[in-house]
Assembly symmetry: D2
Homo-oligomer: 269 residues x 4
């Protein structure tokens, strides 16, 4: 049984309610309207929030067990107990990256190095745990409302199993190179957008004992998470990212050890 | 002309002077003795500190211009002005990683993403800028006083030019796998140690516009930086890591942009 | 001075003359018409053959010295003397891959392993030297007459120097994934095509001491080799692929040694 | 059920019988003695030949079904029917690489591109199917009778599951860098040898739809295939290399298509 925790910032789902808008900031009126519009549109696509759409998707599988967690919960819903009980953490976020406390980011990062899988979806390309783990900004270029085609360029990868050589998403946000990421261990998908762009849209990395997958589809107001190929890819990814080896088998601790502590410790023995 | 800044924590060179020893800490007496011993031994090998040994090495080259910076200087000697005037930052550190303020670490990290080369030497495997940039702990196993042989497994790499297929270091500290690093873009050197260990001792990565090289040799009390092959590798590495493209040519900013700021900014145009 | 040999099969340039058409083969009439048409169109774009267009391009550079060789010359123009005097071999081919004798393919392959650079252009994706060196079929999907945009996803690579983040080719043949190649050491360019396709259009590999670059643009009847960005990329590629280390510095011979010979030889010493 | 075919040249097992010694060749007397000695020693370790030692190893697993094939069988035991019925081909060879007909090599190579797994063991580093598939010579340096320690540097890889961070082989042949292979997709093991050498001893690649693993241990007269870690690695490797996707799902054929045939075919539709 693979234990998945789906984390969603769950902000746009609630319009102005969690937005913490500062009326004195230059574009507050614009953002106010954006939030009201996106709340209305998200409700249609994800009536119970993006996290519950994703939860339902994973719950179709007998070998996956799912819980959800959101920004508004104590400790963002990611207490040490929850993290310790998570095999794969799926992360959706967009406009509130900055509100995730650094303490939680460090907790997630440490868990990844110890073997927890981490799947960053769509606008999570700049979420703090991914930036912390990959060390790059995750910056890219983007534009709303485009047509996308996802091409597979690593057909033997476990995440690509059962996926055709390409599939279309009639409505998706456009993301474009240069995508500021480390060279992927495996580049599985490249997306084409009608407007003239390409994007490395499915990428894997390993850090410490943890496996990481970034996947582009999933704009908040569009139906990508109902596409059967996207659903299959996400399920494949969870199985691929699930930890395969316990950290205890490695004698070399992956916790951050200060050099002084290391010195003292090693000399003692 | 390549502008190199050699940074050295410059702590062990001064024995107890900069050690900030807390006499109440369990192993303070042990550490006191270690520092006194290493001060004495370093003085023989690096009479003006490791940074000046490295400075002299790079100054042998007409196309390299060198300055040094140390932990005890204001802002660790790494003011924004110094960083802006640096093509490649060479980093030696060991027992004082934690004393580098996070603000300096972020400054170095941002500069790397914008194209500054970064070369981490020996015990800098766990320095904060490298951990911040690679996202892994840099943990490894180690033991003092071993014999090492450095093998080249990427003979066409620019950093390996002029280097024989292997060379010996009669005295070097042993570092051993598992080395907690991201898969290197290029694995150039693998070291053998007499005691039965191997180590990926010369590794490259690219992050944003910046190139990174880690190189194992350089224990503080041993003479590796006087080895002609090590010297040649360090000079090759500086030339390889020097920035080749200005960030301004890329329209996609690599600075950390919060999603909200990104949103506001993009919508405006 | 980098010594470049530009090899071109030089068949379509001559219409029916070198086509060796077998009138009894099913589609001979179709191919006859195709050859007459392509001869007419190539003459406009490459009045002296594709090899001379490429030769003129490289001759703009003071550090590059160029000769050409074609299929109709004795030993395809690639005698052992020519190969021994070549730093980088640039290869354009399309409809006559099969006419290159295996002996010449082996000669080219051995030279690559010993350090000769090899640049395969456009329809050379299935030329025998590339198949022999990479071990894959080089198969892909294609369609004539599309609009292409070439995106850079490795802006720090030497081959990308001076190239904008993307550039357009208003007329180019479409090549599409899955492209049957080994995972590139560096994926430098990804091409977008108007019809809905993507392609890993600029890829590098190292084999033995030799560096290899594949680059997609260059359909025989279109003007890609006059595009300033394509020209810059090809010149960068020649400089990148030029040998940096002499094979003699490696004690391990890269010639194919039968195990028996190896055994006998090693035991002798 | 994974269908494994273990191929063994099965020559040294029979001393002079299959050796085809040419008495006029310079070192024939030396080789004669070597063959008599190795026959005697192999009989002790592998009483039914190396292929049957490996067969017994895989037969311990319920999900693996094994057949063997040897050089002396018609078509080397690798008829098209056998190949079509093989998920993973395990290859042991040493002194008779040259006796495998090119036709069989091409058959194996085509099967790999279509998805058959291929595991090359020990002195198969220079077998023709591996050279054909990787495009490099596979050359290395070697010496008999050394002590080896195998270190894992990719602990999360499926092939490393259940393997400790290092394990010893008290008697193994020494293989040393530079190992002339393409950069591995994953470098899983690095071996240390008492005499001062290192070797990339466990490497993976993907070619077309096929997965390839090279693993160093397995000298003919030593007991490495009875080591529990080696056994576990080989079983892991077979499961990892088993085909995960049928070629029919890819519309792009991986068979070698001549450009003319490709042209004719594509134009027809």
């Amino acid at each position: 049984m693979i234990k998945v925790t789906v984390w969603n910032e769950n902000v746009q789902e609630h319009g102005l309610q969690f937005a913490n808008l500062d009326a004195s900031q230059p574009r507050s009126e614009f953002i106010r309207k954006f939030l009201l519009k996106s709340e209305r549109e998200i409700k249609v696509v994800h009536p119970n929030g993006i996290h519950n759409t994703l939860k339902a998707l994973f719950e179709e599988e007998d070998d996956i067990q799912v819980r959800t967690a959101t920004l508004d919960m104590p400790e963002c819903g990611l207490t040490q107990e929850v993290i310790d009980d998570t095999d794969v953490l799926v992360w959706w976020a967009h406009i509130a990256h900055d509100r995730v406390p650094d303490e939680i980011v460090e907790r997630v990062h440490r868990a990844i190095l110890k073997g927890m899988g981490f799947i960053a979806l769509h606008s999570a390309h700049q979420c703090k745990p991914l930036q912390r783990t990959l060390g790059t900004s995750g910056a890219l270029k983007w534009r709303e409302d485009d047509r996308a085609r996802v091409w597979c360029c690593a057909p033997t990868h476990p995440i690509a199993q059962g996926i055709p050589e390409s599939f279309d998403l009639d409505e998706e946000e456009m993301y474009c190179e240069f995508f500021d990421i480390p060279k992927p261990d495996d580049l599985i998908f490249i997306s084409w957008y009608k407007g003239g762009e390409v994007f490395r849209s499915g990428c894997t990395w390993t850090r410490g004992m943890g496996k990481i997958f970034y996947f582009q589809p999933g704009h908040e107001t569009q139906r990508s998470y109902y596409n059967p190929n996207v659903r299959r890819i996400l399920k494949n990814a969870v199985r691929w990212a699930a930890p395969v080896k316990r950290i205890s088998e490695i004698s070399c601790p992956h916790a951050e050890v200060s050099a002084e502590a290391k010195y003292a410790q090693a000399k003692q023995s």
